[in-house]
């Protein structure tokens, strides 16, 4: 709808400009160009709104919408209003088609979003071909930053390595790694496979091992048969490399079967924990951002979001909100909206307030946002102030004084060369 109306606008505009040009018989195309520039700046947003990642996609849309509203209320970017075109990315092939349409037909300056690593790769390929920016706000797969990296793709979402190493710090501290037997549940698609690979590398480096890795279909809803296999295997730790609704189902049913083996996760979004509820929630989980993080910008965002959407933001809302703000900020700083200028600017290490203790920046060689991560554990039910106050957030990882890069994948682990 947006696009169609847009095409009409542009056509009318060009016809009008051509008419003026013909009347003056000067052949000057300039007015048309100038008027087109004062037009709204289109930004594409693709994220899964249906399927097992749909619950997260809804937060993504709320986050990016709020960011656009705030930017437009302050006069837009370089004097231009932002026009957001947000759509359901559905699956990799649809995501690819829609990305192509956003760039070619709608003239989007960049695309923000996505959660599925498989769809993220599809969008990145289209972005690369069109030499336009794609800000990944929800795909964790290391491969997207490594083997499949792309000069036009920037990652606001943390990489799998960052999640594993953040949660891994807590597990090392609790003595759950060395000499321990881990049992893994892995989401059976690009993200899960990548996460297991990273987790396996981590546990081997620290003297533990995986004794099983169960690949779970993304639409699995009954985990009873899987939990029986955990009981058969008697591991020291059960590790969730699951995604989306899988995690809610797994946590609820693991609680139902009351197994004595502790659980931890390497992939996580708070929405799935809220869905599991305080009675079922358990384990140690990594976390990108949580609304109780106590920094001025974090509080401000939480307040604005809660006022706008009547519930606190989730980490996926954080991702899409920040990506939009980063894009706008970079455009203001450079005075340009073309992707090549922005890539150059971001690669120079521009810093951004990402609502955490320290500022973040994009690493030049793989375009990953360097930032603090956290771990979280469930709160006692009596201490919760509201249903969203479900988790207790741990210290930031890396600790103050440590380089932000220590949790990110190294060049040896995840080499990236921009073509």
């Amino acid at each position: 709808m947006h696009g169609q109306r847009g095409t009409m606008d542009r056509r009318t505009l060009l016809e009008g400009a051509a008419g003026v040009g013909a009347a003056l018989a000067t052949g000057l195309g300039m007015p048309a160009v100038l008027r087109a520039q004062s037009d709204a700046l289109r930004v594409g947003h693709l994220t899964p709104l249906t399927g097992f990642l749909g619950p997260l996609g809804e937060y993504a849309v709320m986050g990016v919408t709020l960011a656009v509203e705030e930017i437009n209320a302050e006069g837009g970017v370089l004097g231009r209003r932002i026009e957001l075109i947000s759509e359901d990315s559905v699956n990799p092939s649809t995501a690819s088609t829609k990305a192509q349409r956003l760039f070619e037909r709608d003239g989007a300056a960049c695309i923000i979003g996505e959660i599925s690593s498989a769809s993220g790769l599809a969008i990145a390929e289209v972005a690369g071909r069109n030499r336009k920016l794609f800000f990944n706000t929800g795909c964790n797969s290391d491969a997207l930053r490594g083997a499949s990296c792309n000069r036009y793709m920037f990652h606001v979402e943390g990489a799998n390595s960052m999640y594993v190493k953040a949660c891994g710090q807590a597990l090392l501290r609790d003595g759950m790694v060395e000499g321990k037997k881990w049992f893994s549940f892995t989401a059976d698609y690009a993200f899960g496979h990548d996460l297991f690979k990273v987790a396996d590398r981590f546990v081997q480096q620290h003297g533990g091992k995986f004794i099983a890795n169960e690949l779970v279909p993304t639409d699995a809803t009954d985990f009873s048969a899987y939990i029986l296999k955990v009981r058969q295997a008697q591991p020291d730790l059960v590790v969730s490399n699951l995604a989306g609704n899988q995690i809610t189902n797994f946590i609820k049913q693991y609680k139902e079967y009351q197994q004595p083996f502790p659980i931890a996760g390497f992939g996580f979004d708070t929405a799935v924990a809220w869905g599991a509820g305080p009675e079922a929630m358990q384990g140690v989980w990594p976390c990108l951002w949580y609304h109780t993080i106590d920094t001025p910008s974090s509080k401000k965002f939480t307040e604005a979001f809660t006022q706008r959407w009547k519930k606190p933001p989730e980490n996926q809302a954080w991702g899409d909100y920040n990506a939009m703000k980063i894009v706008a900020h970079a455009m203001e700083e450079t005075g340009k909206t073309d992707s090549d200028s922005l890539v150059e600017h971001l690669e120079k290490g521009a810093k951004f307030d990402v609502m955490k203790g320290r500022e973040g920046y994009f690493r030049a060689w793989d375009h990953q946002l360097m930032m603090e991560m956290y771990t979280m554990t469930p709160k006692q039910k009596g201490e919760m102030t509201d249903p969203w106050d479900l988790m207790v957030i741990g210290e930031a990882v890396p600790a103050a004084g440590e380089d932000l890069e220590v949790i990110a994948p190294s060049k040896e682990e995840n080499a990236c060369t921009f073509a």
């Binding site: 639409d219 899987y226 799935v272 509820g277």
Partner: protein, 292 residues
Amino acid sequence: MQLVFILEQILNGLLAGSAYLLIALGLSLIFSLGGIVNLAHGAFYAIGAYLAVEIGNRLGFVPAFILSPILVGLLGILVERFLFRRFYRADPILSLLVTFGLAMVIEQILRIIWGAAPIPFAIPSYLSGLLFAGGLIYPYYRLAILGVTVLAVLGLWLLLNKTAFGRIVRAGVQNPDMVGALGISLAPVMATVVAIGLGLAALAGAALAPIRGVHPAMGSEVITAAFVIVVIGGLGSFWGVVLAAVIVGIVRGLTVQFFPPAEQASMYLLMFLILLLRPRGLLGERFERLEA
């Protein structure tokens, strides 16, 4: 040792299958009598779950478990009166399209009211805990679901086989024209059948809400499995559906034991094999009006 694991998975499969059974029975009933392939059946399962959460948070678990299916059953009467009734004699493709649209509309309504993210609902404390039986474990809650399913199946069987109402339904399934010629109107019967069918789906939704994520798309997660069960069991066959649900539960459990990535696929492979050997399904009957 391995044998024990297999036995464990088979017994667990029985429990897992019972969850699908409540959904599949209603689906089968509406299809057999009205000729409507109700693609929105899963959506009513989702409504049942959401209503159970809302009622449960206010009045407690047991009222939720009872009221939610009744409310959805009443909703079913409206759906029958204003929607299904127009399509009994129509080309099946029309009812297919209508119910597909209805499923999407309901899913969106759930999304607008409750949001896309799953909402929490816990097992009541008196039903949590495990039964240990000779090294095997059963959560009390799943045993309770099994008990409710058995009661629902028996109740439905008695209704269909031991009452005047049931005789009309069974006659209608076999030959609606003859029933009409005898001066019996199927329309009021259909309203009850749809109410029961959707009520059973809601009962499944209420029962599974504490152990599965309650989210708008939860209906589409179960609808395919329910269809597979109806097809495997055989059209119009009550016990065929029951048997198929149990078999599908066991096959999926065993697949998880040996090759988890094929968990979903195993069900379709089973359907493929059974249809090759018995095109009418396990206990399917011959229907004049469905023969080409």
